[in-house]
Amino acid sequence: MIRQILAVTGMGLRAIPERPGGSLVIVIGMALVVAVMISILSMSTGFMRTVHNTGRADRAVVLGRGSQSEFASEIPRDSVVAIANAPNIRTGADGKPIVSADALVSVAVVKKSNGLDAYVVLRGVGPEGFALRPEIKLLSGRMFRAATHELIVGKSALTQFEGLTVGSQVSLPEGDWTVTGSFESNGDEVESQLLADSETVLSAMRATSFRSMTVMLDRPESFERFRAALTTNPALTVDVKRETELLAAQSKDLNRFLTMIAYVVGGIMGLGATFGALNTMYSMVSARLVEIATLRAMGFGGAAVVVSVLAESLLLAFLGAVIGAAIAWIAFNGNFHSVGGLVFRLAVTPGLVGLGVGFACALGFIGGLFPAIRAVGLPVTTALRGG
């Protein structure tokens, strides 16, 4: 049985070069489907990777009650002290709680790629801000000083927008601020932002309340206790979220949107490619009808024939998928893309390649199945007379 399958399949595969046109239709069709699908999905994976890099289970974010995002939130100055004194917050070497009340400002900038207006976020962080976010590392220049108009620029923001190089001046309320250094932050959201001292930012903005407050918990498990302490405090009107949860909630919509587009476009193209594959495999079967009937008359089983037809279409689909994945990887992997203010790199991951190959093989299977059934469905005598 196995030997029969191998023999018939080998015959079929060796004949592929004799029908380059039809085989190419399957290969190219699948390659295009997989390339398009993986490229779109690589946006989603790259975006999610960036978002997840920011999140740590032992960090909690405090927002004004009912706020969905930092920008819509307000934390009054007197709440900051109460929050910092809550239980289960880790303390630094100096005995101070590791927390940062952040102030946010949108700064008008110009995008390098197209000269259009864009906004970048300037995040004012508290004195413990860098103990809270140890992933931030200075790349060049020096740290900003508090109480002066100085800021540092994230690596992604630096590459995307004009006029943010170290030493340049950024126009902000109360005059120009100097960029004193650049930093990286593990490829997360903060890397697309500017950082400065929160009190200096607030006074320049003539604002009195912060946007959000992030705290480092002593252990990830103490989150519930920390939240309970804040939400039961009558002096505070705040919501407490795990950093990871907040980011996941905020990125959910975009992620769902990109995934939907990838599947709709990939699905429609895949349908087209499947019809192409069916076409090729049917004509392959009819061209080999006499040959197949001869084999069966010689005693080869129907299963061997079915497997050989399926194997051929699966192999072609697989080949196409690999080419498609390679195209997507070469063309897009690591490319910068920005949605909103967030800059991220497209990521063609092994998981995506696997998904693409699996999808193409499923389509190839469907494309081969019906012609295979036809190949063995015809009575041998009819087939021997040429159908």
Partner: protein, 380 residues
Amino acid sequence: MKYFPLVWNGLWRNRARTLFTLLSITVAFILFGILAGVDAGFAHSLEASRMDRLFADPKFGTPLPISYAEQIARVPGVLVVAPRMVLGGYYQDPKNGLGVMCRDVRFFSLRPEIQISKQQMQLLERTRTGAAVSVELARKYGWKVGDKIPLNTTTAQMDGNKVWTFDLVAIIDDRDYPGEGGWFLANYKYYDEARLDNKGTITRFLVRISDPGRGAQIGRQIDRLFVNSAAPTRTNSERASTQSGLQYIGDVSYLTRAVLGAVFFMLLCLSGNTMLQSVRERIPEFAALKAMGFSDNIVLLLVIGEAVLLCIIAAAAGLALSELAIPLARTAQDWLYILQMPWLAMLEGFGLALLVALISALLPAWRVKQLSVVDALARR
């Protein structure tokens, strides 16, 4: 025309193959139609955004004092200035997000695309807590004129209450997006008097200018007025804002064009392969036609005609199906209201079909034209 039956029968010579090719090309054109709809939708929103309308926005996100309006109005070339503030909130469920435009009567001269009658306008200005909403919103939430609409917000009123209640006095429409638009208009006076913080501030001045060509210059003049104040402005034409807004969600037209390129390539492969196979199988038949006295050119045209017929039928079916899919997509996803299917995109679709047909028929048609009758009939 008299050759039509010949072309038609040639096309259906191998039923299964023609059917599968037709289906695959149809599917490709469904995708083309949807993508063209997305592209056209973005182009439309760019077109609907005007050059003679400037937006003076806060440069750093801090709200602007409403008193700026008089200074802006004095800039040469400025015709009307309309301030507005957006009150963000939701109706019943946080999923039903809404932005309430708190504005005054000047707003309508800046937004002539809003279709509101004189009577409705007066009613809205007279009713302190009045609101006018787009037909789309009224339909979605089942609102009728006379309804009280409570919205949950994060903005506190004087008494600390964060639920704002509006009285619906008018249902309006938008000329640029008939049946859509999503406007929720209310009175700035009511909002500003009732709110606790930030009194006397707004988040945008809409500015109408006399000469659309001088937008950038006037914008700079406006910004210069407030450059050293606590709340500087950043002024841009609506067109420029839309452009950077579209950029904000990523380079959509690059994406659609890239996918369309892939689709076009796929079409060529599918249709080209079918034509090659089909003609190869029928070489003796074409030889017979030639032997009967059909000229080389007629036979060439027969092959081309077959390819054209195949692609045009598939394109028509695909475009028709995408036309059906677009309203479905609109109802499925709110933001898809921008989808459009203009006639131009349809024509482009047929043009593309024709192009694909000609390219894919080129090689086989040439082979048939060059055919030596004797050789072919002898099956050499």
